[in-house]
Amino acid sequence: MVEMEVHRVQVSSRAYHRVVLRAKQGESSLHIVIGPSEARAIALGHKQQESPRPLSYDMAVGLLREAGAQIQHVAITDLQDGIYYAEIHVTGSDGDDRVVDSRPSDAIALALRWQAPIFAAEAVLEEDESDWDEEDEANGNDLLELTEPSEGSVSMEELLADAQQDLTETQMLEKRLRQAVAEEAYEEAARLRDRLATLND
């Protein structure tokens, strides 16, 4: 296990959000595609800013406090079929340790609010992906300005489907590509195909 920290949260023009984790020591990193509300919650937690109204994670932190529980650490443990898996290690008021299955986005959002360490298994870590960062730098907006999903055409079902799993970028791009083709949005499909090609090099 390698201890990680949140490097930054990125959002691009097509409601495509990701969190970038960097190893506290060393070069390795981890890019996880996450849902927009999770991205916002992580960005707020990262900058230690409070939301004007308590978010669901603030409720969860309150619940854990009232339960006399402690988050010991969270860990991103696995990557299967493009989906990342995480665990939350929590101690109850009885002193017993529990391990609860979680999406990495939820685990990270909670860890930041609890100031608990974030670990990642070596097997899920990536080599440096510097060629990606430049383009994202150009597209990147400050997430704190993003209060609600900006694209009016996104349906509730799509919002939910996108936010359900924490995916790799390749997986997300392939999913978007299939959607674009189904919607006959071929200009978008061409763009996604090219980004996939860069990623697979």
């Binding site: 308590p54 669901s56 994670y57 969860a60 109850g92 939820d106 609600e148 919002l159 071929y186 061409a190």
Partner: protein, 212 residues
Amino acid sequence: MAVVKVSPYMRAEKPLMWLCEKDSSAPRLLPVAVGEFEAAAIQMHLGGEKPLRPISYDLFATLMEELHVPVRRVVIHSVEGQVFHAAAVVESDGRLREVDCRPSDGVALALRSQASIFVSAELLDQAGIRASQGDGVEEAISKFYELEPQILGQRREQESLALPDPAQMSSPQIPDPLADLEHRLEQAVICEEYEEAAQIRDEIERVKSSGS
């Protein structure tokens, strides 16, 4: 209170979460404006959908269950301006403890924790809607929307989009000038030649609009 339904996503309006008074002969309804994600999370549970991975509320419910600190109830207790305030009540070491939350978060958690949902009597008097005599809950909700023509108009628009396009249902026996284009489009997509696909798609549109 029981959660009846979450109204569909609407472009200009926030979704509404509808709570309905339980065990009453003339139940009152309380509509609460909620965020899209929270609405989706509630709808998902009402619809009996199981996510592939636990969403945030599944995680919170599991955490409390594992810690043996049950969520007993969620209480929506007051409203300030347009903003409703709620609290989740947990039982820890034999004592009830409250945590402030948004109503949507509280309800999404309560549904997953088999906890009861309460609305203060005062709030229900203030913001509740009573269904007219003889009306069921569904009728009362649709009457509410009739009072909001703008919202209803948008719903109609969305519904009409879902209808199949009559042009696409025309009989296939007629020799089809589109068949060749459709075939080429298919090939282009298979070969990932999306620039070409875009051109063929536009060509198909032109043929369709001039032909009908």
